[in-house]
Symmetry: C2
């Protein structure tokens, strides 16, 4: 394919969807990719650029001049244009904006550039179709015709007053069905859900999910219509949120991906490993105090792992379930007491079963009855304590406004380990009469 047979290549790619061409680009080096994209229509090339992942796109665009980038930026939606430009060095960014042929696009981009990525303003695109409340259907359709080229998916026409204040929406279905002379005023829908530019992205996602919206208008504090956010961008927010929470729980901070550099990955992981290490050092110091006991009953050491792992496992299970229900905010706010009660019920059954099995095992391998009692009581206590910690920690962090996923994994595990060893050696010291 690399024999530069441009005619065949071009024909083949034109039969494909842009998203599929994107898939192919990932497997090529920058030069080849640039060659492929340059064969295509600028419009399709722009769509492909918009679909690329951040890292790949940054690498890919390094071989482009500002003028070449500007050609593509002319064609993409304003939200994608801003994402793309934000990845570029400031110099390139400013050159591209200056070189844009489509001056409206340049204005859109300048408007959007100053919003953070994680608020509604950073998700919105400027492309939309709006109609004045005083117009009739004919004027609406005229407007639609004018703007149709720029607006990929229309969804609905926004209805505004003379000051560009958002009043409501008018669905395309209604426009199709209405008489040409009908006034917008008499048929538009005044029940409208919107967001302000400063709302966090997660709130936008929640709102759109709760009300099953495909698109949501964005207004400024004066209620003036500035743009809209479409569901595909919000789906990205939702999946990114889920994946960054999963990583956070596993003790990986930031949006690290497998193909990031070794250094980036180390930065994201080392801090949490150090938290775990500190826990381990504390545990070592702590067990050191009981060295005398261990000399007398060396079999005690054998149960250090099961105490630690049971506490860890129970804690992670519990906190994951709590995190799930915190993320789910369906409007119900279960009381802390009810939560604890249910968790204790589960802890009781799980704890009893595990303690009994381990008790049996201890007797079976001929350990002393007293050691068996110490190990199993410690296990039962650890299950309870880990359930408690796993329930309370995420709820408290959430109340404090900290993302509960971030600190749940490594923190809870480390804390549970330490508590577990404390209970184990404490019980042993007392019950074994050491």
């Amino acid at each position: 394919i690399d024999s530069q047979d441009s005619a065949t290549l071009k024909a083949e790619m034109e039969d494909m969807y842009p998203a599929d061409v994107t898939g192919i680009l990932y497997e090529l080096d920058s030069e080849q990719a640039k060659y492929l994209v340059s064969l295509l229509d600028t419009k399709i090339g722009a769509e492909i650029l918009a679909a690329l992942d951040t890292d790949e796109r940054r690498d890919f665009l390094k071989s482009f001049t500002s003028a070449e980038i500007a050609l593509y930026v002319n064609e993409v939606d304003s939200d994608d244009a801003v994402d793309l430009l934000n990845e570029q060095p400031i110099k390139v960014r400013e050159e591209v904006i200056a070189l844009l042929e489509d001056r409206e696009q340049a204005r859109f981009i300048l408007d959007l550039l100053h919003y953070d990525e994680d608020v509604a303003g950073g998700l919105m695109q400027k492309e939309l179709v709006k109609a004045n409340v005083n117009w009739n259907m004919n004027q609406c359709i005229e407007e639609l015709r004018l703007q149709a080229e720029d607006v990929e998916k229309v969804y609905a026409v926004y209805v505004v007053d003379d000051n560009n204040r958002l009043l409501g929406t008018l669905s395309l279905k209604r426009i199709v069905l209405a008489h040409k002379n009908t006034k917008v005023e008499s048929i538009y829908n005044q029940d409208i859900i919107y967001v302000e530019t400063y709302r966090p992205a997660e709130e936008v996602a929640e709102l759109m999910q709760r009300y099953d919206l495909d698109v949501i208008p964005v207004v400024n504090v004066q209620g003036r219509l500035l743009g809209r956010i479409t569901i595909d961008d919000v789906v990205d927010v939702i999946t990114e949120q889920a994946s960054s929470d999963a990583l956070a729980m596993a003790g990986v901070t930031g949006d690290v991906e497998e193909d990031d550099t070794v250094w980036e990955q180390t930065k994201a992981r080392l801090p949490w490993l150090l938290v775990g290490m500190m826990g381990g050092i504390l545990a070592a110091k702590f067990i050191g105090f009981f060295e005398g006991d261990l000399k007398v009953v060396p079999a005690m050491a054998a149960f250090i792992p099961i105490i630690g792992s049971t506490g860890g496992n129970v804690g992670i299970q519990t906190s994951s379930i709590i995190l799930q229900s915190l993320a789910d905010r369906t409007g119900l706010d279960t009381g802390v007491w009810e939560r604890l009660l249910r968790m204790f019920g589960v802890a009781f059954i799980n704890g009893i079963i595990i303690s009994l099995i381990v008790f049996g095992f201890n007797l079976l391998i001929g350990n002393e009855l007293q050691l068996a009692i110490v190990v199993s009581s410690a296990l039962l206590s650890v299950v309870f304590l880990a359930s408690f910690m796993g329930t309370v920690t995420p709820i408290v962090l959430d109340k404090l406004g900290i993302n509960p996923a971030v600190a749940s994994g490594p923190f809870i595990t480390t804390a549970n380990d330490l508590i577990g060893y404390g209970v184990y050696f404490g019980l042993a010291h007392v019950l074994l009469g050491l």
Copy 2:
């Protein structure tokens, strides 16, 4: 509010969005909730029912007769109707279907009932607007008018041939802008992405995300148009998938929620706790072999926890990053060797840093140099082994077609623990010359 002041209540609720009324219902008991819903228009009541969570809805509908349920089922979209009916006992289900006034809805429901929940057929709704390829715009608009009442969001008109075979789509924008006498044939879009009824839900979600679709048509094996899947249902699939993966990694199987019964939660959690317990018992047996060594150097016991927790933490971090990139399938398929190489790079830096700190700690608290060497070499080996396991296990499971999230958490942790203790005691036995 419970003084049954129905007029005020009704007025208040009518000002709210159905999704908000749903939020209120969660906080009421069934009787109160039924009373509230009965005040509302059937159509709004139906929307509220469709928005309720499975468990709440099942409880709530227990106090309804089949005839009452049928009234609401008449009004909801066919996909929601099927979900609702699938939660009911077979007797109620059949009664409701028999009692449906809207016979088309009854037929839709019967068509949909035989699809599994987790394939495209189980996600689709029958409500859509289609047009014959030979029609002109006027006929299209007529059809739209006829079907407009049943189809909440139109998105696009599907174009079919005389045999109901799907040919393409026609956007509402085009209909609005086209001349009344234009033939469908000459303006419809033949590039269409569709799914077959038997495709798994995750595949549908992936497809809609990749191509940024708001709606996707569903066809049977003959290519006949059967229904469509809208993005809101797919967003639910995506979030459910993410949450069930997160739970699976934490050792919780099935879609357990915090408000499930103690017994359901125990069933979901106990098996994995038992896996961890078996690991702990094995570790105990294993450490038991080295009891003699522990008698000589009791300080060794103090470092059992740090070996276990470091292995566990590194393994979970590594596997989470791999899981993320497996879930991300952007078309790039990094080679196993490249993956391992990068992982080893990260493992090397993290391992060296942790080993050195612990080495320093050991010397600081006055432990013997030899013990310090044993502990730190064991830590370094554990970091490498856990990185290897954390990389390979999810990839292998994925290749075998098993959800890699399910077995990653507890399995990897337990395996890493055991390997870690093996390395530690093995090294100690050799290096300390015991």
